[in-house]
């Protein structure tokens, strides 16, 4: 299963960066929720320990075994997503949660892992210079099914966060100009059709409000405006840890989850943003740098898709807090409060470690 050489080859720096970012997250979660009932930061500590344990345990299994069974994992996820749509209880307005004894789990988060593994399996056989129609269509179909199921919960943010994973696979496979045009047209059609038929008014508002957040400062624009005020009023050095008025006085929405970066901006200032941004960048860079350190095509795809998944969520989330992206309800990986998201990201990083530590190994 696992041997001494492999343990020696574990990328401890990546684990350190992962944990450091998580700890930063816990500190900010404390600041933004200590006055709320629920001890969010303690729960996040618990989730971190659990995720770390899962990460280490999963290292013992060769990632190719996961890839082999990826289709079953994917099917299981689809069943769960379908099942909670039918049987699930509404929590916070969506049916995205499975409630166990004492913890809640969002299957839509774990589904990301299934998608990464399944796409890796599809594309590992793919050795042509550019993306073929069969690979493109089959992979799109798998991902879009999951997107639709999650979007129906309704959790559009998580649903759309699957797309960058698929896009990552496409990019590696190689996009011809023709494919790019087709993808663009396809996106446009989907966009227009959803705008016309599927998007709810509040979702449309979130998009239109990007253009004019001042227009309705108490409505949809409120969150963006308050978030920008929080960040802008932080200045160079910030208002101090646990001393952000926007955050502590609850002007800021979803402080410990989706808008956690606004708390960083307000309390720690530009300096804090740059320092924490730097840690995050090093973490993401470490993922991108890991791409060539795989022994096979499967590993390359997995590492790259993991990097794409976390990077895209990071940018969507941060751009959202400064009003450059619609409020999508996407958490900031590692920093935001949320067990499922944390666990998913740890599993994803675990796959990267798994691939790197086995790069010199015979099959």
């Amino acid at each position: 299963m696992i041997n001494q050489t492999q343990i020696k080859d574990i990328d401890w720096i990546l684990i350190a960066l992962l944990v450091v970012n998580t700890l930063i997250g816990i500190a900010v979660i404390y600041s933004s929720s200590h006055y709320l009932p629920g001890n969010y930061y303690l729960r996040q500590v618990f989730w971190t320990l659990l995720s770390l344990a899962v990460l280490l345990v999963l290292l013992t299994v060769d990632y190719n075994i996961f890839v082999t069974y990826s289709l079953y994992l994917y099917i299981a996820c689809i069943f769960i997503l379908g099942g909670i749509l039918i049987f699930g209880k509404l929590i916070a307005g969506t049916k995205s949660w499975i409630k166990l004894e004492f913890i809640q789990i969002q299957p839509s988060e774990i589904t990301k892992i299934a998608i990464i593994l399944l796409l890796a399996r599809i594309f590992s056989e793919f050795k042509r210079k550019y993306l073929s129609n069969e690979a493109g269509i089959s992979s799109s179909a798998f991902v879009l099914l999951a997107v639709v199921l999650v979007a129906l919960q309704p959790d559009l943010g998580t649903a759309l966060s699957y797309i960058p994973i698929l896009l990552g696979a496409f990019i590696l496979a190689g996009l011809t100009r023709k494919t790019l045009v087709i993808l663009l047209i396809f996106t446009l059609v989907i966009g227009i059709v959803s705008w016309g038929f599927f998007l709810k008014d509040y979702q449309k508002d979130r998009i239109t409000t990007l253009l004019t957040p001042e227009k309705d400062p108490l409505g949809t624009g409120y969150h963006i405006l308050q978030s920008k005020i929080a960040i802008g009023s932080g200045g160079l050095f910030g208002k101090g840890y646990v001393r952000g008025t926007q955050s502590q006085l609850q002007f800021l929405p979803a402080r410990h989850t989706d808008f956690i970066f606004a708390v960083i901006g307000e309390e720690l200032g530009f300096v804090g943003v740059v320092v924490i941004g730097l840690f995050y960048f090093l973490f993401l860079a470490r993922l991108f740098w890991s791409v060539p350190q795989s022994r096979d095509r499967t590993g390359v795809y997995i590492i790259f898709m993991v990097a794409m998944m976390i990077t895209s969520q990071f940018f969507i989330n941060v751009f959202m807090t400064i009003g450059l992206f619609p409020i999508a309800g996407i958490p900031l990986p590692l920093l935001s409060y949320g067990g499922s998201s944390l666990l998913t990201n740890y599993i994803a990083v675990s796959l990267v470690l798994n691939i790197k530590m086995r790069r010199f190994v015979n099959i």
């Binding site: 590696l172 009023s233 160079l236 800021l252 901006g265 943003v273």
Partner: protein, 603 residues
């Protein structure tokens, strides 16, 4: 062998991944640059916005200053009251909120929305008063729904209260909400929308003294408006207390006299101009409509044909009637048109300018000299005097003696009255002056108009034998127990008419009351009341003739003005009862009651 299998050529794939990573690096740079803009370049703007978010200014209204009479009786005070306000920021659904609030407070939803709309320019976290003068039941109802309706809050505020209701209501005035037009006036530049300000009377005149200084609490609030701390707390400063010259008992008596009638009473001190009583009837109870809305009571009063909101003492315009005769006599004496030995024969009527003019006494007064002319108010004497001196001189003396211009009492809205002359008639009516009009003016009819206060001030001048006074109501002002201001002693202006002529008029007025004259019913034994009665035509001559043709009785306004005692005058009483009939019968006895009350209290 192994290597070739494991390390397949992935360089193309790697290079694609590298390109993506370059894009990521660029995005990071963009991100940092954007944060630089937000946090460094736009810092000031966002800082201010976050401060405004955090700190809510609560204005604590000050207690309005008390108003007391000359002996300390409180005429205007403050009582605790509650108002309900809407904080729009806390509304989850504005329409729904309006509906629930209107239901809870028993308001029309449209009126509520109109009200809120009026203040839409205020910041969203500023409470907008939607109902005031809440009952305890309403307060309880709101409090019990605090969690369902966090947008509706109850605030306490001091409310103006007049413990004696209608007493001196015209003098005191009343409060109403500041209007948008007033908001733009310099005087009210520190006031806020929703503030109540003095709209009439002393409440308006001394607004700046009475209003006090508002307190301010800067409190830290959370997003849903809950107070979680205080930054600063500046206590409000109570408005200054004002002592008036009014005497509670005389004021009360004056209003009792007028009760059920329409009219006005002025009681003042001739030497100083202090107003002891100033009553106008019908009156009103300002307590009933001191709130931010336009209650039915107030609209009713505005539209009432009897004009209860008008202060008749300074805004009621009446023909002086026979009260004008002392002025005529002073003019005649000063112009040497008449003297002690001049006498006219009164046969009940006289033809002047080919037109008959009647005396009020059908049988006539016989031979009349200047004393008996005042004593018995003989018209014939004054017709002939008027003919001798002419309208220009009559108008000049009337003006010298204070008619046709405001008395400058410290009340807003005083009217000037009217002293007609040929120039006025040309200007206003574009007609020449007819000599017959001079004859009418000689007995105080025609276009001549005076206010009851002008009559009182004029009477004070006679009592002072020529020294004029400026009437006033404000005696002194107290700030936190210390007197800070006092009415300045105003030395009257001596009239150019010699004192001896005034003495003759006084003699005539003394005879009028004490020697079976027209003012006999005003007599107070041992107090030497001097007075003059009057009956003013209510309508123009033309209308009067028309009414007379219809055989309808026209009751004249009943005047009396006088002072006492004759040699050291202490009190002036002037009063008019609209449609009271003859001045001697209706007004004179009322004046006596007031003089007697004054004597009992102060002499």
């Amino acid at each position: 062998m192994m290597n070739s299998k494991i390390y397949e050529d992935l360089s193309l794939v790697f290079s694609r991944a590298r390109v993506v990573f370059i894009v990521v690096k660029i995005l990071f740079v963009i991100l940092i640059l954007y944060f630089w803009k937000l946090q460094i370049l736009d810092f000031q703007m966002f800082w201010q916005k976050s401060e405004a978010n955090r700190i809510r200014e609560i204005v604590v209204p000050p207690q309005r200053g008390l108003i007391r009479d000359r002996n300390g009786v409180v005429l205007a005070k403050n009582i605790a009251s509650f108002k309900a306000s809407l904080i729009r920021e806390n509304c989850k659904d504005y329409e729904e909120s309006c509906l629930r609030i209107s239901e809870l407070l028993d308001l029309e939803p449209e009126i509520l929305k109109e009200r809120v709309d009026k203040y839409r320019s205020l910041p969203l976290f500023q409470p907008i008063v939607v109902k005031d003068n809440l009952t305890y039941e309403e307060v309880a109802r709101i409090k019990s729904r605090q969690y369902e309706l966090p947008e509706l809050i109850v605030q306490s505020e001091p409310k103006r209260n007049y413990p004696f209701g209608t007493l001196a209501s015209h003098v005191l005035g009343y409060l109403q909400e500041i209007s948008p037009a007033e908001m733009e006036m310099d005087q009210y530049k520190n006031r806020r929308l929703g503030d109540l300000i003095g709209k009439t009377g002393l409440e308006k005149q001394y607004e700046d003294s009475l209003v006090g200084t508002e307190g301010k609490v800067l409190e830290i609030v959370d997003r849903i408006g809950r107070e979680i701390g205080e930054v600063s707390n500046v206590e409000p400063i109570r408005g200054n207390e004002i002592y008036l010259t009014l005497d509670f008992d005389l004021q009360k008596k004056a209003e009792e006299i007028l009760e059920g009638k329409e009219g006005a009473v002025v009681v003042m001190k001739p030497k100083t101009g202090e107003i002891l009583a100033m009553a106008s009837y019908p009156n009103f109870d300002p307590n009933k409509f001191i709130n931010r809305f336009t209650p039915e009571e107030w609209v009713d009063l505005i539209n009432s044909p009897k004009h209860p909101l008008e202060n008749r003492t300074i805004r009621g315009l009446y023909a002086p009637g026979s009260l004008f005769k002392p002025i005529m006599l002073l003019a005649g004496l000063d112009l040497r048109a008449v003297n002690d030995s001049t006498s006219f024969v009164c046969r009940g009527s006289i033809i002047i300018y080919r037109h008959p003019f009647a005396c009020w006494k059908r049988g006539g007064h016989g031979a009349v000299n200047l004393y008996s002319a005042i004593q018995h108010s003989c018209n014939i004497y004054f017709y002939q005097l008027g003919k001798r001196i002419g309208i220009e001189e009559i108008a000049r003396y009337a003006r010298v003696l204070g008619l046709g211009s405001p008395t400058h009492i410290d009340l807003p809205g005083e009217k000037a009255g009217l002293v007609p002359d040929p120039e006025w008639k040309r200007r206003v009516r574009d007609e020449p002056w007819y000599p017959g009009e001079t004859i009418s003016v000689s007995i105080g009819q025609g276009p001549l108009l005076v206010t009851p206060l002008q009559i009182a001030v004029h009477t004070a001048q006679i009592a002072n034998r020529g020294l004029s006074v400026i009437p006033y109501l404000y005696a002194s002002e107290i700030h936190e127990g210390h007197e800070i201001a006092r009415q300045q002693e105003k030395t009257g202006i001596r009239s150019p008419i010699p004192e001896v002529y005034f003495e003759k008029v006084v003699q005539g007025m003394w005879q009028s009351v004490n020697d079976r004259g027209t003012g006999a019913l005003a007599r107070v034994k041992g107090f030497d009341v001097c007075g003059k009665t009057g009956s003013a035509q209510v309508v123009s001559t033309a209308t009067a003739e028309k009414l007379a043709q219809q055989k309808r009785e026209i009751k004249t306004h009943s005047w009396f003005t006088g002072f006492a005692p004759k040699d050291k005058p202490e009190i002036v009483v002037s009063l008019i009862v609209e449609h009271g009939g003859g001045g001697g019968a209706t007004a004179a006895p009322s004046a006596r009651e007031l003089i007697e009350l004054y004597r009992a209290k102060y002499d």
